[in-house]
């Protein structure tokens, strides 16, 4: 083989046509082998069988306006039902005249969540914003001043209730979770045992039992004459529940902190509380933000369980709307409506969490 030397670089050429472009993509991804071709055809068959009837039901044959339930029964969906009922499904028993209040409340919540997603806000500013937001939410829902009528918590229902239960549960459950996680890693055996016991107890039982416990047993735990609001009972259950699950998430972050960090903090003379507050926690929490977001999504979904203790969250109001004598039998329409609301919220939160995870992985040494 002769020695060779190339001084003039070879120009890059375009790849052969069958291997790129639309045809190449089809070949590689859908028809690359016999099994693949069969699978592709099966999938196409499935889509052809499934999609047209759904489109026909949801759009083509759908009835968009109807005076009552009787007139709305047909081959297609009855979206008139949603048109009639959506205010009730979304806001429940809140006085109709004051509907602007829960609307603003939902807006405030959405703003708070979007603000939390913006990384530039992370820090003390976010904490203050959330505090103000929460106070505004409760003030608006309760009313009783500035011309707004007082609305008892029993009337709070629908989407605002779902958001309150989930967000307040996370907000108060978070410090509880951090304390439990720190306690679980404590060297003091009594503290460690109690924390482990609490976490395993709460995580080992279904949320339904906690809701029952809060609903039925909490009144028994309090001195005679002290009553506790039904909403508060459920909220306590969610806080205790969130605390235990968040404790495990935070524990993961704490475990990932290299020993060297703690040793460096000790060498600098920091006390336990100082090193936890200034060194360990900031790093641990930053690491576990994606799982934290996932836990929040889970708790948001779990709020639908309060139907068993007769709290009127989004799912319960939908179920109640279905009991209207004049509009009978529109189950699928109602479930699709609230399904889309739940799904949108959870889906976009989970996309955000995946985005965060990718960014964190990029920053870390691989």
């Amino acid at each position: 083989m002769a020695d060779i030397a190339h001084d003039v670089p070879i120009a890059a050429e375009a790849p052969p046509p069958r291997s790129t472009g639309a045809l190449g993509w089809l070949k590689a991804n859908l028809f690359s082998s016999l099994t693949n071709t069969i699978l592709t055809l099966l999938c196409i068959a499935l889509l052809v069988v499934a999609i047209p009837p759904v489109v026909r039901w949801a759009l083509i044959d759908a009835i968009w306006h109807a005076p009552n339930g009787q007139a709305c029964h047909g081959d297609g969906a009855c979206w008139a039902f949603i048109g009639e009922k959506f205010r009730f499904i979304l806001f429940g028993f809140f006085p109709v005249a004051e509907t602007w209040r829960p609307v603003v409340v939902v807006g405030i919540f959405l703003l708070m969540i979007v603000a939390a997603c913006d990384r530039r806000m992370w820090g003390r500013r976010l904490g203050i914003l959330w505090l103000i937001g929460l106070c505004a939410v409760f003030a608006l829902m309760r009313g009783g001043f500035a011309g707004m009528g007082k609305v008892e918590t029993a009337m709070w229902s629908g989407l605002p209730l779902t958001l309150i239960l989930a967000i307040v549960g996370m907000l108060f459950g978070f410090p509880l979770g951090v304390l439990l996680a720190l306690g679980r890693r404590s060297r003091l055996p009594a503290v460690r045992t109690i924390c482990i016991g609490y976490i395993e107890l709460i995580r080992g039982v279904p949320l339904i039992t906690l809701l029952f416990m809060a609903s039925l047993m909490l009144p028994l735990f309090l001195p005679a004459g002290v009553t506790i609001d039904k909403l508060v009972r459920a909220q306590v259950a969610f806080i205790l529940f969130a605390g235990a699950y968040l404790a495990e998430v935070v524990r993961g972050g704490l475990q990932a902190i290299p020993r060297g960090q703690i040793e460096a903090a000790d060498a600098l003379g920091l006390s336990y509380f100082q090193r936890t507050r200034l060194i360990v926690l900031p790093q641990a929490l930053a690491m576990v933000i994606p799982p934290l977001v996932n836990t929040f999504i889970g708790i948001f979904k779990d709020t639908a369980l309060v139907i068993i203790i007769s709290l009127f969250d989004l799912l319960t109001t939908a179920e109640t709307a279905l009991t209207d004598g004049a509009w009978q039998g529109f189950y699928v329409e109602a479930y699709v409506f609230i399904g889309v609301i739940y799904w949108s919220f959870c889906f976009f939160m989970s996309r955000y969490s995946q985005l965060l995870e990718r960014e964190f992985n990029r920053g870390r040494r691989r």
Partner: protein, 252 residues
């Protein structure tokens, strides 16, 4: 090291090989011939396509244009051919890629048992022989996680040798090792070369190249720029790009 060019049979032949990743032209018109017992060292800056080229030889990457013939077998989409080629070609990776859930001995006997269908005892004898050859006979029952980097790479070399391949490919075998462990791996590779194994080696270790190589191949931006025996390659590089590259490497 050896002066005589390989005589009987060409072991590896690449003719006008092109490869694209999507629209990116990663291998441009590669022509290469490696004879039996010949040792070829491929060098070049990162992104030059040298790893991609060597991985085309055992079909870990597919080429879109051109011909590749290994040990007389044409490499194409035919699974039978691919299996046959992989039986005859051993590969050592930069990241070792030992199987962590198996002991060292099991790592070595896995392929001989399941691909060459050897009885267990025979496979184990071969395995212990090669462990001896790479000078870590006492680690047979340890797990890869318990070994140092240099030991793991030597086990990886032994694992490929247990299949008694005709050709050995090395893809930057020492780049992931701590400096004090590089020598032990290079020693094994040198002794392998001295026994007449056909080798294609992608590496930055120029000292090793000078000792062992019959042919140096310099690649840059997907093409083979220069090909020459080490004596001429290091003393009289003909291309500007080769000169530039060598000055960067040999500088320290």
């Amino acid at each position: 090291m050896s002066d005589a060019k390989a005589d009987s049979g060409t072991m590896i032949e690449l003719q006008a090989v092109h490869k694209w990743y999507g629209d990116f032209h990663v291998l441009k018109d590669i022509n290469l011939q490696v004879g039996k017992g010949e040792k070829v060292v491929v060098c070049g800056p990162s992104g030059s396509g040298k790893s991609t080229m060597i991985r085309c030889i055992n079909r870990l990457e597919e080429h879109q244009q051109g011909r590749i013939v290994v040990a007389g077998i044409e490499l194409n989409a035919d699974l039978k051919n691919i299996d046959a080629v992989r039986r005859e070609v051993g590969m050592v990776f930069q990241q070792f890629n030992l199987f962590p859930h198996l002991t060292v001995l099991q790592n070595l006997t896995l392929a001989p048992i399941w691909v060459r269908k050897l009885p267990k005892k025979e496979a184990e004898e071969t395995a212990r022989y090669y462990l001896e050859r790479v000078r870590i006979p006492d680690q047979a029952d340890k797990y890869p996680g318990q070994l140092s980097g240099g030991q793991q790479q030597r086990v990886a070399i032994a694992r490929s040798l247990c299949m008694k391949p005709e050709i050995m490919l090395f893809d930057e075998p020492t780049s992931a090792l701590d400096p004090e462990m590089i020598k032990e791996v290079l020693d094994v590779m040198v002794s392998l070369a001295e026994e007449g194994m056909t080798m294609v080696c992608v590496t930055h270790e120029m000292g090793f190249a000078r000792t062992v190589a019959d042919m140096m191949v310099f690649m840059d931006r997907g093409e083979v720029i220069e090909r020459a025996p080490p004596k001429d390659f290091f003393a009289n590089p003909k291309s500007d790009r080769t000169r530039a590259f060598l000055s960067q490497i040999i500088a320290h």
